[in-house]
């Protein structure tokens, strides 16, 4: 989400805010807002159902890395 995108306030219970803050403190997220946005984006993404396809080149790159790590012959 760009910083210039218009926003609307959404309110959550303080207890939920504190629960999320506890999770943020032990994660790579930097704020409760960032965490909430991430979760909501994931939920909305599920509705969009985008199929992820690997190109032949991408798959060969993955296999090359796995061979180097000993996970493929």
């Amino acid at each position: 989400m760009s910083s210039k995108e218009p926003v609307k306030p959404v309110y959550i219970p303080i207890s939920m805010y504190e629960q999320i803050q506890e999770r943020v403190d032990v994660s790579e997220f930097t704020s409760v807002e960032e965490y909430v946005l991430f979760v909501l984006e994931e939920v909305l993404k599920d509705d969009e159902e985008v199929e992820i396809v690997f190109s032949k080149e991408e798959e060969e790159e993955v296999k090359k890395r796995l061979k180097a790590l000993g996970y493929l012959d």
Binding site: V62, R65, L66
Partner: protein, 192 residues
């Protein structure tokens, strides 16, 4: 030794270097039936071992159709993310490990893989998303996601979640003892 449902194949999965061996070790120490061999011995990158079958090359067997997963029903085996698309139709319960991609790439580099940080971040993120989509869309797979960072920082909570997912209370104390803070190598900068 605890018993799992012998109609189900249990799998620990995730990107390579995402904590799959640690999870396998926890489950093994917790008294659950796990299947692995010593084809790939422990080393500096996995000091407690890899807990895998066929020296980690089970994916080749899946691709070739030479892997008989029926032999491992009721047991937990490790198949990393790329192998999931080769799973034959069956009945699966999968514990999928997630780890900060920077840490995954750090670990891959230390193992000697020639990593292009920018390109491989995109590539492995895509593999992760592909795998998660596969888990979600296959009707024969039941799955749970476990975060590697949480395993190290709060093993009791995470192993309890695993127990709930597997539908069995096992030796959580021994399972948690398998996790050592010093094994949290390649920690992403955020967590330092």
């Amino acid at each position: 030794m605890y018993k799992l449902n012998e109609d189900i194949n249990y799998i620990v999965s995730g990107l390579e270097r995402s904590g799959t061996s640690v999870m396998m070790q926890m489950l093994d120490k917790g008294g659950l039936p796990t299947a692995f061999d010593d084809s790939r011995p422990a080393d500096q990158h996995n000091p407690r071992g890899y807990f895998e079958l066929a020296g980690g090359k089970i994916i080749n067997h899946l691709i070739n159709g030479t892997s008989n997963l029926d032999l491992y029903k009721g047991q937990i085996i490790k198949i990393t993310a790329y192998g999931l698309k080769y799973l034959p139709t069956g009945k699966y319960k999968i514990i999928y490990m997630m780890r900060h991609l920077d840490e995954v790439l750090n670990s891959m580099q230390k193992m000697g893989a020639d990593i292009d940080r920018e390109k491989d971040h995109v590539l492995f993120d895509k593999l992760n998303q592909f795998s998660l989509n596969l888990l979600k869309n296959r009707a024969d797979i039941d799955y749970t996601i476990i975060d590697y960072h949480h395993i190290v920082t709060n093993p009791e909570r995470e192993i309890t979640l695993v127990g709930k997912f597997l539908g069995i209370t096992f030796d959580y104390k021994n399972a948690m003892n398998a996790v050592e803070e010093q094994l949290y190598r390649n920690r992403a900068e955020k967590y330092q």
